[in-house]
């Protein structure tokens, strides 16, 4: 619910056209102390980035891992845009979402510190990416979703 609301809020800002076409997304989703949620969170981050960039995903290159406490996704979109998405453990600190979206005519920055009560349901449509990310991470290869 939290991520979906965030997705909608940012999407509506982007649709207003203030920063122009979004071409790059940096997202840190440092929202859980649970290692088991890292991969699902990374998948949700990918879903959000695609929603904001509004172009099909071409390739995803995952790095890091559950034991390391973070999953980093480098995303190459079909239109040439890019994203760097990271799901990270809170490591005893406060939960935080940090976004930097670079548009053709400006940038959008968000630093948000949600309360634990907001973070009860962190999974949604992004779970469609989960299997692909998990496999790519295990094999050290990119997940290619669109062949040009």
């Amino acid at each position: 619910m939290y991520l979906d609301s965030l997705g909608q809020q940012i999407e509506s800002r982007l649709k207003s056209g203030t920063i122009g076409k979004a071409v790059f997304v940096r997202a840190h989703l440092q929202l859980t102390a649970d290692h088991g949620l890292l991969l699902p969170l990374a998948a949700e981050g990918l879903e959000l980035a695609q929603r904001w960039i509004a172009t099909p995903v071409h390739a995803v290159y995952p790095l890091g891992g559950v034991p390391q406490g973070f999953i980093n996704l480098m995303v190459d979109f079909s239109g040439g845009e890019a994203a760097l998405i990271t799901a990270e453990l809170t490591l005893g600190g406060e939960a935080v979402t940090q976004l930097l979206i670079t548009g053709q005519h400006g940038s959008l920055r968000l630093d948000e510190y949600p309360e634990p009560s907001q973070l009860t349901d962190l999974t949604g449509n992004g779970q469609r990416w989960l299997r692909g990310i998990t496999t790519a991470l295990a094999t050290g290869r990119q997940m290619i979703t669109v062949r040009e």
Binding site: G20, R26, G80, A82, T102, Q104, S107, R109
Partner: protein, 375 residues
Amino acid sequence: MAYGVLIVTGGMTHQENYARGFQEDKRCTLIGVTDERDVDERRARLNRKLAEDLKIPYLPDLDQALARGDVNVVSICTEHHRQGRVAIRCAEAGKHIYVDKPLAGNVAEARRLEAIVKQKELKSQMFTHTQMPQGQRVRRIYQSAALGDLRAIHQDLQFAKGYPGNFSIDRRKEDPEPKMFLLPDAKRELFNIGVYSLAMARWLTGRKNFLTLRAVTGNYFFETNRKRDFEDFGSMAVTMEGGIVLAISAGRTGWKSHPGGGHFRTKLFGSKASVFIDGMASHGEISSDRQMNWKTPAENPEDPMGFWASTDQRKTGGTEWFFPPGSQSPDQKAFLDRLEKGLDGEVNISDGVRVLEALFAAYRSAATGTVVKIS
């Protein structure tokens, strides 16, 4: 000791800053501005202009200038496609080298330069952001051990300069081995800005090597870069020795993309803690209804002071930023300090070569859409 510093290549380069950094240091005497004898009319004019501004001679023949006995150090800031060969001539002449980033326009020249510098036991430093306050802060936090084992470095370095266009964005076809990087109206920005983050990561981690890299380059903002087929933005995911992951965005993103110099953000993620460092955190802000972009909401007589949410009197406008003193880079001073102690620069020619290898790997990756190994 007094150092005779020869300025190699002049105006409309970062030499405008570097040369003044050396000139303001009491340990230095600037000998003159020089360059290759056959530079074009524009470059010769800009070289003479910097010499005039600095009130030092213009010495139009690099080899003659290097033959002078009073030159100990060269400060090189030549266009990248020439910088490798120029730096090699300076090293062959036995001069200590302070050089602009990235080191050269191809890896072969950079490696040859590295070999000469080692063989002649010269001291060297490549300009980076490591000596700037945010660089020092990143290292201080890293060395405090509060993070535990460093696992990831994330850095966004996006310069807020230039006039963005209104074109539709296409998937860029990258050149796997570019040869030109800088023209009067365009720069390859992954090359020119991404270098800072790569150098910072190597410096921070005690010279851990880069292993693999995946990059995407784009033409998102500037018509001039599109016409020149130079990327204006790049993203990289890099693996380093020790299992460290490096995730970088680097580019020039247009005047209005940031109220100050641009986004300069670093996040370090360790086994015990993480830290976010905003390189632009030290700034002042002014908000005023006398600012050009400020839009004060129309007064609602029912709620003239904007007390209640239902009257929705949203204001919009731009906050004006200014910066406190003390943010100037002491990079030249740091080099001289190390030189006095007989030490090499903290980011030396060898570091510059390793970073250049990574940058060219990034072009290969962006051209092929694959993860590449860094040699």
